[in-house]
C-alpha cells in the first residue's frame, strides 16, 4: 500500500508543480459561481447564522454546516467535467 501512497504523493506533487491544481481550482470556482452554487450556499449560510446568532458564529460552525451540503449541491455537469480533466492529467502523467 505504501507504493500507492507514494505514487499518490508523486502525482499530487506533479499536479501542484505543474500548476494544474491551481488551474483546476480556478475552473471549479468559476463553474460553481456560474451555475448558482455559490449563491445557494450563501443563502444556507444566512440561515445558519441567523440560527446560531450573528455574534457567536465561528468558522467551525460554518464549515461543519456548509461543506456536506456544498458537496451535494455541485451539479453533475461540473463534476463530470472536472473528473474528465483530472483523468486526462493522470493518463498523461501517471503512466
Amino acid at each position: 500500500m505504501s507504493k500507492d501512497s507514494k505514487m499518490r504523493a508523486t502525482i499530487n506533487q506533479k499536479l501542484t508543480e505543474m500548476g494544474e491544481r491551481e488551474r483546476l481550482k480556478e475552473l471549479l470556482r468559476a463553474k460553481l459561481t456560474e451555475c448558482g452554487w455559490r449563491d445557494q450556499l450563501k443563502a444556507h449560510c444566512k440561515d445558519v447564522i441567523k440560527e446560531k446568532g450573528l455574534e457567536h458564529v465561528t468558522v467551525e460552525d460554518l464549515v461543519v454546516e456548509i461543506t456536506p451540503k456544498g458537496r451535494v449541491l455541485v451539479p453533475d455537469s461540473v463534476k463530470k467535467e472536472l473528473l474528465q480533466r483530472i483523468r486526462a492529467f493522470l493518463a498523461q502523467h501517471a503512466t
Binding site: 499536479l15 483546476l24 455559490r38 460554518l62 464549515v63 456548509i66 456544498g70 473528473l83 483523468r87
Partner: protein, 349 residues
C-alpha cells in the same frame, strides 16, 4: 527496480479512478472552505447582511419566474396591440404608428411641410384652371363634362387612398427624401405612375387633365411639354418635349387629337409615319383608342424607353388598320360610335 517500475506504472484503472475522485473532492472542499472563510469574515466585519432590506421590499422585488413574463414581471410585447388617442385629432392610432402620425398631424417634421406645400399648390392649380375654363368653354357645364370632373375628383380620392396605403412602404412614398435620381432634372416631384401638373408646382396628386383646359392653354402647354395622355390617369405628361417615356409619335397624336389636325406643331416631327391622312374623325378614333384600347399606346409607367419603343412599333399597325376601316363609319357617325363604346365624350377643339 521492479518495485520502482510498479510504483509509477503499476496503477490499474480502479486505482486511477479512485485517485481522480480523491483529487476532485479535495478541490470541492477547497471551494467550500473558501466560501466559509469569506462568509465568516463578512459576518465578523459586519457587511454580510448589508445588501438585504426589510422583508416587505424583498418580496416586492423578488425575481419573477412565470412563463410569458420577464424576471421583472413585465410582459414582452405589451405595446403591440395598444392604441393611443391622438391629442390633436382625437383619433385612435396604433402605438407603433403613433409617432409618425403625430408628426403629420401637428405639422412638424420634414415631410409635413412638403405635403402642405403640395396641397396648397394643387388647390391653387385646380382653382385657377377650373375658373378660367368656365369662362372659355360652355362644354364644361354640360352633363358630359360632369362625368369628367367626377372622374377627376374620384381619381384624386382614389389616388390619395392608394398613396396613403403606399406610404407604409418607403420606396413608394412620394414625400420621402429617397427618390430616384431621374426625377431630379425636373423642378417638381413625380410618382412613378402619376403625372405632374406643372413644372413649377409640387403637385403629384393631380396632373393636368386636358378636359378642363381651354384651347389656348392647351396650345401653350403643348409647346412646352410632352403632353402625352396617360392611359391610366387620363392626364397629360408634363415632362419636356424630349421626355423618354413617350415617343414623338405619341406627342404628335396628342396634339392632333387635342388641337385639331392642322395644329400639330411638334418641333421634331416624326417623318416615318403617314402624316396627311388624319382628320377630325380620326382624332375621335384616336381618342377612343387611346382610352379603351387594351394594348395601350400611351404608356404611363416608368420603364421609359423600352416601352415607348415597343408602343411605337405597336401603334403603327393598329393605326393603319383602323384609319382605313373606320374612316367610312366615322364620317357619318361622329360621336362615340366607333366600336369601342364607353361613355366618353371626345373633345375636339
Amino acid at each position: 527496480m521492479k518495485m520502482e517500475d510498479m510504483s509509477l506504472s503499476g496503477l490499474d484503472n480502479t486505482k486511477l479512478e479512485a485517485l481522480a475522485q480523491d483529487i476532485y473532492s479535495d478541490l470541492v472542499e477547497d471551494a467550500c472552505l473558501g466560501l466559509c472563510f469569506e462568509v465568516h469574515r463578512a459576518v465578523k466585519q459586519g457587511y454580510f447582511f448589508l445588501d438585504d432590506t426589510d422583508q416587505e421590499s424583498m418580496k416586492d422585488f423578488e425575481i419573477v419566474d412565470q412563463p410569458g413574463v420577464d424576471i421583472f414581471g413585465q410582459v414582452y410585447n405589451q405595446w403591440k396591440n395598444k392604441e393611443c388617442v391622438c391629442p390633436n385629432c382625437n383619433r385612435s392610432i396604433a402605438a407603433s404608428r403613433f409617432a409618425p402620425h403625430l408628426e403629420k398631424c401637428l405639422g412638424m417634421g420634414r415631410n409635413s411641410s412638403r405635403i402642405a406645400n403640395r396641397r396648397i399648390a394643387s388647390s391653387n392649380n385646380m382653382n385657377n384652371k377650373s375658373e378660367s375654363d368656365q369662362e372659355d368653354n360652355d362644354d364644361v357645364n354640360d352633363n358630359d363634362w360632369s362625368y369628367g370632373s367626377e372622374k377627376k375628383a374620384k381619381k384624386r380620392k382614389s389616388d390619395k387612398v392608394f398613396l396613403h396605403s403606399l406610404k407604409q412602404h418607403i420606396p413608394l412614398n412620394p414625400n420621402s427624401p429617397r427618390r430616384s435620381k431621374s426625377v431630379k432634372h425636373k423642378n417638381g416631384e413625380e410618382l412613378s405612375n402619376s403625372v405632374n401638373a406643372d413644372p413649377y408646382k409640387y403637385n403629384y396628386n393631380t396632373g393636368i387633365n386636358y378636359e378642363t383646359l381651354g384651347p389656348d392653354e392647351l396650345r401653350s402647354l403643348l409647346t412646352t411639354q410632352c403632353g402625352v395622355i396617360s392611359e391610366h390617369t387620363k392626364k397629360m405628361c408634363t415632362r419636356s418635349q424630349r421626355c423618354p417615356q413617350h415617343t414623338d409619335e405619341q406627342r404628335r397624336a396628342v396634339r392632333v387629337f387635342l388641337l385639331g389636325p392642322s395644329a400639330s406643331s411638334l418641333p421634331d416631327a416624326d417623318t416615318m409615319v403617314e402624316s396627311d391622312c388624319y382628320d377630325a374623325s380620326d382624332g375621335q378614333v384616336l381618342m377612343s383608342r387611346l382610352q379603351w384600347d387594351g394594348s395601350s399606346d400611351i404608356s404611363p409607367s416608368d420603364s421609359a424607353s423600352s416601352k415607348a419603343s415597343t408602343n411605337n412599333s405597336d401603334s403603327k399597325k393598329p393605326k393603319k388598320k383602323k384609319t382605313t376601316s373606320l374612316g367610312l363609319n366615322s364620317t357619318g357617325g361622329g360621336g362615340g360610335g366607333s366600336g369601342s363604346g364607353g361613355a366618353v365624350a371626345p373633345r375636339v377643339v
